[in-house]
């Protein structure tokens, strides 16, 4: 824990936030441009996480494919079953961005999504 705090203190927090926001904006644009995935949650000023669902592909199938492509995401109900039920969403796939991620990671995510579409049609 102390090591984590020391590590974080070595960076300018505003710069971290700007970096994460840039990745989120880029990923949001790219996933939208892909046009086959519905983004869930676009409140202004939200953290650097991107949740989405796909027609005809369950989040766990998508996560398995992304995993094999070297992209780690969280998938499923995220322990938020009540909220998911309220919005009629069965499961989502969620990518999170942090200071160590780059735009190349977002590109890998998009390539993985394209692979999933290749498999599931």
């Amino acid at each position: 824990m102390a090591a984590a705090i020391d590590y974080m203190n070595g960076f300018d927090r505003t710069a971290i936030a700007a970096h994460e926001q840039d990745l989120l904006d880029y990923a949001t644009r790219e996933v939208k441009a892909f046009n086959q995935f519905r983004i869930i949650g676009e409140a202004p000023g939200k953290g650097a996480i991107l949740s989405f669902e796909a027609d005809g592909i369950h989040a766990h199938d998508l996560a398995t494919i992304l995993d094999r492509e070297g992209v780690a995401v969280r998938a499923g109900h995220h322990c938020a079953q009540v909220l998911m039920e309220r919005f009629g969403v069965a499961s989502t796939t969620r990518a999170s961005f942090a200071l160590y991620n780059t735009r190349a990671d977002v590109d890998a995510l998009i390539a993985g999504l394209s692979k999933a579409r290749e498999i599931f049609g």
Partner: protein, 151 residues
């Protein structure tokens, strides 16, 4: 593409998940079973009609989940209808071993071939439970376990 992915999501699996066989409730069910995997949210309900000759006359299922769980349930109905309970139990045991990457045991070559489409799951430990949910539920329905309601 990654061969293990191709093996997991082969055409037969995708076809079963897109067009599940025997989907829906069974009116004259003699046994029912419910299965739930709270960790991933998959749910399945199995309906069975067992005749006085100890043979499974019909099976159907309802459920929601990933492609693997739906395909596995669909394939199971196809494979178990018409079998005696003893035959079904042997096949179920073989299947459960197969998806865990263990020896499927002494199955008829034809059965082995049909089950083989699910063998790719064994390379994905996180997904084994998706494949086994319907089969465990079926087993439990036949054995009258706690989650089972005999109608």
């Amino acid at each position: 593409m990654d061969d293990s992915l191709r093996e997991l999501y082969q055409e037969v699996i995708l076809d079963h998940s897109r067009h599940p066989r025997h989907f829906g409730a069974l009116e004259k069910a003699t046994h029912e079973g419910e299965g739930h995997n709270p960790l991933c949210g998959d749910r399945v309900k199995i309906f069975l009609a067992v005749g006085t000759d100890n043979r499974i006359a019909d099976i159907s299922f309802e459920g929601k989940g990933c492609a693997i769980s739906q395909a596995s349930a669909s394939l199971m109905t196809d494979m178990l209808i018409g079998r005696t309970i003893e035959e079904a139990e042997k096949l179920m045991g073989g299947f459960l071993n197969l998806v865990k990457g263990e020896d499927a045991g002494n199955l008829a070559p034809d059965d082995r071939e049909h089950l083989d489409v699910m063998a790719g799951v064994s390379a994905f430990p996180m997904r084994v439970k998706c494949a086994t949910l319907a089969w465990h539920t079926m087993k439990s329905a036949l054995e009258g376990g706690e989650a089972v309601k005999l109608v």
